[in-house]
Amino acid sequence: MTTTTGEAAGGSVYEYIVRTKDLAKFYVMGGQEVRALDNVALDIRRGEYVSIMGPSGSGKSTLFNMIGGLDKPTKGTVFIDEVDMAQLSATELAWLRCRKIGYIFQTFNLIPVMTALENVTLPMVFAGLSTDEALEKGANLLKVVGLGDRRDHKPTELSGGQQQRVAIARALANDPAIILADEPTGNLDLRTGKEIIALLKQMNEEKNVTIISATHDLKMIDVSDRVVWIRDGKIERIEERADIKVQVGEMEGEEQ
């Protein structure tokens, strides 16, 4: 990864795929202001695996929503590939959500009436792919996540781990540059959680997708390039992979 900004065949390639500047989100609840995010400046490099960790209520999901363009910040800016999200029209925002970002949720959020394959191909339908192309690509993605034989199953016929795999395949549907995950292992047991983390890491390495994951899950630390610790809506510290090992014990101690 170079540190310069240069022109490449497909357009400009920037080092930072996501940048936030003075990002803040305040909620007013019963006359009281809740500062869910306050003055967050975070730069995320292309191809990075970043975990966002912090106690419950620290603002992880709020940050997920801001970076994903799912809600508007109270103050500050989010840049995706140096494009200010606040400047985008509704249609441009939809384009961004469709093609640039893949979303993964704690509760999987598959469309319950659709089969695994239909779920995976839905973003491709929105992106204007022909039915044949979408079916072929969707079937391939399901194979990649290890569910080649479950394509006609409905979400209710799949285990939690399998549903999350479908969600990962769906997130990859339009070859996004970023996968945003909010506690992707939150509803899974230890082993299934590990498998999902390994799958995300594999996608990160094979497809060079930037992964940004809010999580409580300490297993995630092992695969992360950086861990962003937030508390009370502020970034407490950012750790590079190399510094992390020492801290894990500390955090585990803290949780008890």
Binding site: A8, A9, G10, G11, S12, V13, Y14, R46, G47, N65, G68, L70, D71, K72, D81, V83, L88, S89, A90, T91, E92, A94, W95, L96, R97, C98, R99, K100, Y103, F105, N109, I111, P112, V113, M114, L122, P123, V125, F126, A127, G128, T131, K154, R170, A173, N174, D175, P176, A177, K207, N208, V209
Partner: protein, 227 residues
């Protein structure tokens, strides 16, 4: 290609890159109706009951008109004026019942799918795709529900009236005036047809507002709702 920067195209470019063809929307709607069959039946039943009631009232009016004519031929004085007033009142009532039923079912069917709507927006759906899906669903359910309602409503009345005025006179009711609109009589078949169309259009309109409001919600808010 992941990692390679794809610039956001201009407006015309986006229109071509973000889409939901009507045929695909129709297919999704149809599957949705069948997969959530129980729910669809409940949604459609509001419309069904309204149109069943309305077409029964119309049928009663037309059959009464037939009977009045028969009575007149036999020298009995019919009570037409009173009948007419009652029919207008009943039709109004049934329209109110249908409207309340439809608005309620559509509101429910949109509200319980907020999370799904939020998810679809994350996958790149434009607000109007969401509205389109709900409108199509409401239209299909509305037409199916009101056709079924008309069939059952008029069917039940047919059975009832056949005992009183015979099969031939009962079927003649279809051409008889079911109500008077501005002094001119409207035949039963037209009243029932208009009732069915109204059922479809009404349910579409009833879905429009909640669907549009849900589609406009920021995805974060839609996703947060638990149902």
């Amino acid at each position: 290609m992941a990692g390679v920067v794809e610039r956001i195209p201009d407006k015309a470019g986006i229109q071509k890159q973000i889409m939901l063809p009507w045929s695909k929307a129709l297919q999704m709607t149809r599957e949705n109706i069948f997969v959530r069959f129980g729910r669809s039946v409940i949604t459609a039943s509001g419309i069904f009951l309204g149109t069943a009631f309305m077409s029964a009232v119309f049928f009663g009016g037309a059959a009464a008109a037939v009977k009045a004519k028969l009575d007149l031929e036999q020298g009995i004085t019919p009570q037409e004026a009173e009948m007419q007033a009652r029919i207008i009142w009943l039709v109004t009532m049934s329209l109110v019942v249908a409207t309340v039923g439809i608005v309620n079912s559509m509101l429910m069917s949109v509200t319980e799918r907020y999370k799904e709507i939020g998810t679809m927006k994350c996958l790149g759906a434009l607000d109007r795709f969401i509205v389109r899906l709900f409108i199509l669903e409401a239209l299909l359910l509305g037409v199916l529900g009101s056709v079924a309602g008309a069939v059952v409503g008029t069917g039940a009345m047919t059975i009832m009236w056949m005992g009183r005025i015979g099969a031939k006179n009962t079927f003649a009711a279809w051409a008889a005036p079911a109500m008077k609109l501005g002094g001119s009589p409207v035949p039963l078949w037209l009243c029932v047809l208009v009732g069915v169309v109204i059922g479809g259009v009404l349910s579409m309109l009833a879905a429009l507002y909640p669907a549009w409001r849900a589609a406009k919600m920021p995805p974060a808010a839609a996703l947060r709702s638990e149902f």
